[in-house]
């Protein structure tokens, strides 16, 4: 009892998507009777993240859960932790292959590019030919990969269709509005998270285009689930972050106590949330979903 695990993410402090994971860690920690520490680079700098992994290893926990935000940057620190005899589970971004190469026990998640591509393919099937990818965090490599994946899924070059929107909601809203005004033939929108989605919903409402344009988003929050219900958003890509936090803690605890662990990696997503299945998701959007 009382094992100590460290979860290292690549997200900056203020990225709200990670709250679900933080909450799931707390739930899992309580249920299993272990402590889980959540750590992240405050500005989202992956080089800082590598230091945090090293530091986590130095503090000799019973296990490390880490995202493979960038294989290059993290391969050194993660394999060093493995080498030290610390059980490691990788989550969220990165591929199962990378996870294996690092010597991690298993991987829980879904890679960014593939998620974007899946969304793009579905959007294409629903008729999207020209789109806007609202990137609220352009300096983050994962966001660009999502846009790129979506573009490849739709089957058109990304080109100028990625909007560097910034974080400020009024700016996001007005940049989207400006883009749509200047490119009236746009028939698809993909937003990369609540930070971009909420103001985009507002922009579409103001422009009278709500429901007129295909709209997909990553992740969930209250506004998004409302928009899915009223038809503004066609679908949200859900990778079920709760599982990415919860499962590794459970796995590691059992591994530490009884030496048992599933032999294969777990795909937590991609799942699509649409009008059809929103009801059950809605209540917990943003906290556990």
């Amino acid at each position: 009892d009382g094992e100590r695990f460290v979860f290292v993410s690549h997200a900056p402090d203020s990225d709200s998507w990670w709250n679900v994971i933080k909450n799931s860690l707390e739930v899992a920690g309580k249920q299993m009777g272990v402590t889980v520490e959540y750590r992240n680079p405050p500005t989202g700098d992956l080089a800082d993240m590598a230091r945090i992994v090293e530091q986590a290893a130095a503090s000799n926990p019973n296990g490390i859960i880490v995202t493979i935000a960038d294989y290059n940057v993290l391969s050194g620190p993660i394999s060093a932790a493995v080498g030290q005899g610390i059980p490691v589970i990788t989550v969220n971004s990165g591929t199962i292959g990378q996870s294996k190469k690092l010597g991690a026990l298993l991987h829980v998640g879904q890679p960014e590019y593939d998620a974007g591509k899946a969304a793009g393919e579905r959007a294409k099937a629903e008729g999207v030919t020209k789109f806007a990818c609202v990137n609220h965090y352009i300096t983050n490599p994962a966001s660009v990969e999502r846009c790129q994946g979506y573009a490849d899924g739709v089957g058109v070059p990304l080109g100028n269709q990625m909007i560097d929107s910034g974080m400020d909601p009024a700016e996001v809203k007005n940049k989207v509005a400006a883009y749509l005004t200047a490119n009236p033939d746009t028939n698809g929108i993909i937003t990369l998270g609540p930070n971009a989605a909420d103001p985009t919903i507002s922009a579409l409402n103001d422009m009278g285009k709500a429901g007129q344009i295909h709209f997909a988003t990553f992740d969930l929050d209250g506004e998004i689930s409302k928009a899915i219900k009223d038809g503004t958003i066609d679908f949200a890509i859900d990778q079920q972050p709760f599982l990415q936090g919860y499962l590794p803690v459970v796995f590691l605890t059992n591994y530490a106590r009884y030496g048992v662990i599933p032999p294969n990696s777990v795909n937590s997503g991609p799942g699509f949330i649409t009008k059809a299945n929103i009801e059950q998701v809605e209540a917990q959007a943003g906290t556990y979903r």
Binding site: N23, D168, G208, E223
Partner: protein, 365 residues
Amino acid sequence: MTDERLQQVSKFRRALIRPELGATAGAILVFGFFLVIAGNSGMFALQGIENWTVVSAQFAVIAVGACLLMIAGEFDLSVGSMIGFAGTIIAILSVQLGWPVWLAIISSFAICIAIGALNGFLVIRTGLPSFIVTLASLYILRGLTIWLSIRTTRQTIIGGVKEAAAGDWLAPVFGGKILTGLFTWMGQHGWIATFAQGPKAGQPVVAGVSMLVVWALALIVFGHVLLTRTKFGNWIFAAGGDAQAARYVGVPVNRVKVLMFMFTAFCACVFATCQVMEFGSAAADRGLLKEFEAIICVVIGGALLTGGYGSVIGAALGALIFGVVQQGLFFSGAESSLFRVFLGTILILAVILNTYIRRMITGER
């Protein structure tokens, strides 16, 4: 004494030489530029105008505060963090603790203004540069915001403010629109475009003038009158021009500076409240880098970073330039990552122009 050794400067040229000249010229250039390259992209249609007006108004709200503070000889790097903090406080108080929204708003204003006063107090008490003191506040406030919102709500984005604000008397002052009747009427008479289809079919494309714009105008007028037409305005110039000299002739410099820090905090809080009321949510990362953007507007507007010189009208024009350039690039379809490159370039050009103008005014070398 140097009269006869000095060439005469024409009346016209003298009338032209004002702190806001550079910004005025810049604004004209920028409008001309976008009229040419994005004239038919909808940027200057009603909806397009609303678009960049709102963005500019947002910049203007914080620029007015930053402008007066900068003229008083200080600046505040914590504006951005303060925006995130103020919004989060409103959301926590109203959504989480269930306070009435008007009380949450007023409390948030009170707390922010108190923090502004604390910034000012630290600066005048320790004699440290405001860069350092407010850099510390930047970190402390941002940390507190994230910590507070995670502590109380397990999220860094707190929604549901719109629902909480329904029926509140104070919320529309920040989040509403005015003149909606007029716009509807104009829409009905075909004077302005209406939506052709979709859920809003028949309504005018622009529903009214956003309260944010009203706040921006009100703050600009207030700031301009305060600065140029009142005793206190003279003290602001004096405090920034030479604090010691001002103190000697009886200007209460410390009071002026602290009040300006408080006013800056007030502006940040207006910004945050308008945003929270319009979008219905607060997030811990709101306002990132806004401190720089405010300073950039003010400096483009002709103010002197070292204090004692500047103009609110100039700062407002700076905000307009900033907003128009930012939105114009989207209207014209330029690669959006180049926005920062443009911004940097405009900043440096504007400042060089302003320096030249200021030297002509003051005879400074």
